[in-house]
């Protein structure tokens, strides 16, 4: 029986490794390879850790299988009488310590880029694309009026505190220019939500009472799926939205169309204050 069980335990770990190995081919893997520079770094880090942990996993399981097998075939009278080994303890403390310390230090730059504000791409910081407010169960988007130029940090803060005439509003459909870092300001109108775009590997909780800047860069022009990743009530699963990354030109056109739509029927004096106001005569 002992031999059977040794093989049983070895077998399960082989199945596990095989399952992971075939997963990409079976479609049980990342939805796509990361489509943002930061995401690529995250993926690299993921694979690095995957290799390290796979080796550790195989190592421990093989060791386990081996000692089990030896135990099952042990014909000695008695088990070995040993209370341990000091040098082994030292080895298996120091080796993992180095590996872990390495992983810990190696990842710091990626985290810095993603979250430390002084490492954010400054262009994106100076001209935020939009303010995104999560609500049960939708994402409300507010773009600054087309042509609105932010004069420094305090101007941005003013814009965040007070809606301005000329701001453009939509729901569940965020358009951003592709191939350059963009920054949104994330807030929540009611409970906690989380801004998650799987293909871009970005995720940031929207916390009531806080305005959190999030930057990302889409390296392809396409519509990305955008979901909510923090439990926000019964409709949590259906906060379905999309982020459309498109060329600069398309983005401009999009904003323009949005503007037309929004100021189409009335309140001309509001539209006046926006730079592109005069074009409305075409209607």
């Amino acid at each position: 029986m002992g031999k059977f069980w040794s093989i049983f335990f070895i077998f399960w770990s082989i199945v596990a490794v095989v399952a992971v190995a075939i997963s990409p081919a079976m479609g049980w893997w990342f939805p796509t390879a990361a489509e943002s520079p930061l995401g690529e770094q995250i993926d690299d880090l993921f694979f690095l850790i995957l290799y390290i942990t796979t080796i550790t996993f195989i190592g421990t399981q093989v060791a386990m299988g081996y000692v089990l097998w030896r135990g099952a075939t042990n014909t000695d009278d008695r088990a070995e009488f040993s209370h341990g080994s000091h040098s082994l303890e030292v080895i298996w403390t120091i080796v993992p310590a180095f590996i872990l310390l390495f992983i810990a230090l190696y990842q710091i730059p990626v985290w810095e880029q993603f979250r430390i504000q002084s490492h954010f791409p400054q262009d994106a910081v100076n001209s935020p694309i939009a303010e995104v407010t999560a609500r049960q169960f939708e994402w409300r988007i507010r773009y600054p009026a087309p042509g609105r130029v932010f004069k420094g940090k305090s101007d941005i803060e003013r814009w965040l505190k007070q809606p301005e005439p000329g701001d453009l509003y939509t729901v569940n459909d965020l358009h951003v220019p592709s191939n350059k870092p963009v920054l949104i300001h994330l807030r929540s109108g009611d409970v906690q939500h989380s801004f998650f775009i799987p293909d871009l590997r970005v995720k940031q909780d929207a916390v009531p009472g806080m305005v959190i800047p999030v930057w990302f860069e889409a390296s392809r022009s396409k519509a990305y799926e955008w979901v909510c990743a923090e439990l926000c009530g019964w409709g949590h699963y259906k906060m379905k939205a999309r982020v459309v990354a498109e060329s600069d030109e398309d983005f401009k056109n999009y904003l323009h169309e949005l503007e037309l739509e929004q100021f189409d029927d009335g309140v001309p004096e509001l539209a006046d204050s926006s730079a592109a106001g005069e074009e409305e005569v075409s209607e």
């Binding site: 993921f46 985290w111 009531p208």
Partner: protein
């Protein structure tokens, strides 16, 4: 003074009446409001096993929806949702996983480890006649019941007029077991945020009181009531683990209790600790306040991260003991094992922020938490390698106890290694709140802890009831559970990598997740197999209480003190007060001549000319 222990007593069965004579206790005193730690331990064990069924049934509800979304649940569906035509509702789904986790964590894992095994084993293994505070001990069990009642109310059971939960189970508590405000603080935010959430918080407070009383009792008992000669470094690892767990509880739990009071106050007294101002939830009036939701997350995880180790350390200790007995070999590296337990506990206090990497916490703080989280893998590594070292060169008996222990180690490694991915902050940006997390914690909680518990039940059952559990049934239960568990939870890693968020009633609404439906169906079927397997455990347990093979004092030929007491021990535990002469793991010692073990209480007179100290560690 009786020094050598009468091992021939092994053949004497059921000599418990020795102590029973002077205490003819009434039925109520003996089986219900008992102050005897063994009875309390068994009460805890049976209660938690029942709760395991409840938690498992809720889990199967979760799995049902994920595999066969919005379709009528078998058996219970018609009855639960007569209104919706038997169909599950999203509110109900959120309630399901919330209560599943709550029941599993607060009513199963924590009380089964500390309450059941802690209670039963501590006095026996340290050679004491009972706990330091038996009445407190009894109260700690009976505080579970108000908690269970409140959880039932939180689930939406119970008459509306009493509970105030309008809407039955669709209005059951549904904030996730983490209960993040503002969702959990403002009644308008979800159906489950109304009265049910207040009951939930109350229940957690009751569980907290129960654990608190237990932990103070355990600490006092272990510090002050050890048998003569049982120095700290002669204590079995189970006792060390229980001790350190109790310390974790004592320091971490009050913070959760305090935070729970604050949240209750926010809900019913109009305070605003966690509620910022100007929030308009579901068309309610804007809030007035100035509090911060992140504060709850910090306070909650300050408890709940140590709590995950509270849910693991005792199992680690028990597995170390069981492996040593089953392999007939001393634990490899006893002291490193003790120090790593302590290190896990110590580090466990400074890593809580790893649950908040994407929460909008200060990134510098996040970095600190990342480094400490990485470091906590170290003591775990030491333990893992020492377990393997313990098996190495042993003569293992491949019975159900041993298999469960090996599964513990094997699966703990998987769960631990997936923790490393999430400890890396950038990777956690992607993995946070996806099924990768769900995979991680089911591997550590189910794969490690529960397998440890299954082993421990099988191992100490003879001491509890004087009869052995059936080993064949045990092995069948083991295989089914092991396969079912891996088939259910291993694919969750892939779901996580595919970006499937957790707590989703219907993930397939999103095109990028549609193709994962078949895999989820496979997992659900595996979960059912695993659930079915638990009936074998149940049957084995009940059957063996009445019809198991009778056993003597020391059926496993083990060293620790509890095996010198009668099976089951009478009131006051030991007929011969034990004295301890050595550490607990002297298996296959050359000093033991006619047997391969050397009980802690067995005195070996020194042969002339022998150096002092040989063998009597």
């Amino acid at each position: 003074m009786s020094t050598t222990h009468p091992t021939h007593l092994d053949s004497v069965v059921g000599d418990a009446h020795h102590a029973e004579h002077h205490h003819e206790l009434s039925f109520i005193k003996k089986y219900v409001f008992s102050t005897d730690h063994k009875m309390i331990g068994i009460q805890f064990l049976i209660t938690t096993l029942l709760m395991l069924m409840v938690g498992g049934a809720l889990a199967l509800g979760v799995r049902w929806q994920l595999a066969f979304r919005w379709s009528t649940m078998p058996i219970v569906g018609e009855w639960l949702f007569s209104g919706e035509g038997g169909q599950i509702s999203p509110e109900f789904y959120t309630m399901l996983f919330t209560m599943h986790a709550t029941v599993m964590i607060f009513l199963v894992i924590i009380p089964i480890l500390a309450g059941a095994f802690g209670n039963f084993l501590i006095p026996l293994m340290i050679g004491a006649d009972d706990m330091a505070f038996p009445v407190l001990n009894m109260l700690s069990y009976w505080f579970m019941w108000p908690a269970i009642l409140c959880f039932a109310f939180a689930l939406g059971l119970g008459p509306e007029s009493i509970t105030g939960v309008i809407g039955g189970m669709n209005a059951g508590s549904a904030q996730g077991w983490t209960s993040y405000p503002v969702l959990s603080a403002i009644a308008e935010s979800a159906p489950g945020s109304q009265m049910a959430q207040t009951w939930w918080l109350l229940a957690v407070t009751f569980v907290g009181f129960s654990s608190m009383m237990g932990s103070i009792n355990y600490m006092t008992t272990i510090i002050n009531m050890r048998a003569p000669g049982l120095t700290l470094f002669r204590m079995p690892l189970t006792i060390w683990a229980m001790f350190i767990t109790a310390i974790l509880q004592a320091f971490a739990l009050p913070v959760l209790t305090a935070a729970g009071f604050m949240l209750v106050a926010d809900r019913v007294l109009g305070t605003c600790f966690f509620i910022p101002s100007g929030v308009i939830v579901n068309n309610a009036d804007p809030t007035t306040g100035g509090g911060q939701p992140l504060l709850w997350q910090h306070l909650f995880w300050f408890y709940s991260h140590p709590a995950v180790y509270i849910m693991l350390l005792p199992a680690m200790g028990m597995v170390s003991d069981m492996l040593s007995v089953m392999c007939r070999k001393p634990v490899f590296g006893y002291k490193p094992m003790v120090y790593s337990l302590a290190a896990i506990a110590g580090l466990g206090f400074i890593v809580w922020g790893h649950h908040m990497f994407t929460s909008g916490m200060n990134p510098a703080l996040g970095m600190t938490f990342m480094i400490s989280t990485m470091m906590i893998a170290l003591p775990s590594a030491i333990k893992t390698f020492n377990w393997i070292g313990t098996i190495w060169g042993g003569k293992p008996q491949f019975n159900a106890v041993f298999l469960n222990c090996v599964a513990f180690v094997s699966l703990f490694v998987v769960g631990g290694l997936s923790g490393i991915f999430m400890a890396a902050v950038p990777v956690d940006i992607y993995f946070h709140d996806t099924y990768f997390i769900v995979a991680h914690f089911h591997y550590v909680l189910f794969g490690a802890t529960l397998f440890g518990v299954f082993g421990a039940i099988q191992f100490w059952f003879p001491k509890m009831f004087g009869r052995m559990m059936n080993d064949t049934l045990g092995q069948i239960h083991f295989v089914l559970t092991f396969i079912g568990m891996n088939c259910t939870f291993f694919p969750m890693h892939m779901l996580g990598i595919a970006g499937m968020p957790r707590r989703y009633a219907d993930p397939y609404l999103h095109p990028y997740l549609e193709h994962l439906l078949p895999m989820n169906q496979f997992m659900t079927i595996s979960a059912m197999v695993m659930g079915f397997a638990q009936f074998i455990l149940l049957f084995n347990f009940v059957y063996s209480i009445f019809c198991g093979e009778k056993c003597g004092r020391n059926p496993w030929n083990a060293n620790t003190l509890e095996w010198t007491a009668p099976s089951p021990p009478g009131h006051g535990n030991f007929d011969i007060p034990p004295v301890c002469y050595r550490g607990p793991y002297e298996y296959s010692s050359p000093l033991a001549v006619d047997k391969d073990y050397l009980p802690q209480s067995e005195y070996i007179p020194r042969k002339p000319g022998e150096k002092p100290g040989d063998g009597q560690h």
